[in-house]
Symmetry: C2
Subunit: 252 residues, 2 copies
Amino acid sequence: MEKNRIYTAALIIIGDEILSGRTQDKNIAQIASWLNVQGIRLAEVRVVADVMDNIVEAVNILRERNDYLFTTGGIGPTHDDITVDAIASALGVDVVVHPDARAILERYYETRGGLNEGRLRMARAPEGADLIPNEKTGAPGIKVENIFIMAGVPHITAGMLDALTGTLEGGAQLLSRQIGAWSPESEVAALLRNTEKAHENCQIGSYPFFREGTVGANFVVRSTNQVELDTCTDMLIRGLEELGYPATEGGI
Amino acid sequence: MEKNRIYTAALIIIGDEILSGRTQDKNIAQIASWLNVQGIRLAEVRVVADVMDNIVEAVNILRERNDYLFTTGGIGPTHDDITVDAIASALGVDVVVHPDARAILERYYETRGGLNEGRLRMARAPEGADLIPNEKTGAPGIKVENIFIMAGVPHITAGMLDALTGTLEGGAQLLSRQIGAWSPESEVAALLRNTEKAHENCQIGSYPFFREGTVGANFVVRSTNQVELDTCTDMLIRGLEELGYPATEGGI
């Protein structure tokens, strides 16, 4: 691992069901949190329709400018599941039936009506790909070059992430501390700006809320360096107290 | 309104809190559903970090290839709220204090401690912009060219969408019908593909589930044409019945 190198990932969410508003996405937050623990930062996300050209464009831009690219959705048995074809096209390789995926699906469907044309679609992969185990429903995820092709259904994605835990090279984990105060965000803006400016390797996020008839905000300080994280957070806590807003460690 | 023209919008979600996994996004689904009612399709979404260059790049690509561009997040009073600056930069115009926005904020904060430097930031807008009313917390949204700059907090965004309802030119609304069946998705894949192929102006989405120990799927047929929508859905219902899976109108 190179010291101080920041590892980044991008995520492409593939599916008309997200763009139509029918389905509430849960994979952004789930994958972002998992990546943080691996020492990898989610740098950007795109949601694209089930349209070949749109997927290919996003894949080719994002795989080049990030260490890793994840996709979710579009790997089921039906006609609108075109993720494997789009990624093979982006990489300029053929789509093949992966023998291990076929064997997994044969076993899985042995007691569930057998393998048919639709189910066999889920054994297709870009040439040269490896499989990502799926303990829940048989049909595996796919790893090819720096691309990780995952399911769209969040609990199946979760199982695939479990299988990948600890296998991706990452950098220093992004650490964070959260504090909260019953302060209007707009009265502490200068404090936040000055505190962040005084700590080069820290970012401060401000998340206002309105509860019990009163406004307040939670502040999240993030850094890869524990000492700087603590110095920065402590300066923020002192500053809030000086302005008359005692801070609650952990947030409100 | 041009006949049969499809109106599209893109959405940029701006904010480290979504990319870090701290906050679960709700604006994609909310804005997508609202756009559908306006006769506008959400064509793509990007989530970008609070970094000037990243926002500018996304704004310039997406505003050109869509009728409308929406952004959420980054318009509060703190140092990490840079959306207005980024969009002004993308458009090549100056940032100015909008006199109406300033007046609104002066009134709003009259009984809340008065206008300070942080709060005045929320009156800043790209030159030439109009305001989008915000009944909830004073600070308005901003409309400039075909770009709609909205709040990040979902219930504030909702109020701004209400204010925009009926004001954007759209095309025919995308209609949909949903049916459900206790059919494994992989056993009806050929039926779905053939039914869609037989109806040029319809798309069929398939959304599998696993409940009460059994698998099933909901199928959503979408079209701008009511007659074709009904013909296509009816063919799908008949096909499912022939395969031994009676369909439930409205979904399961």
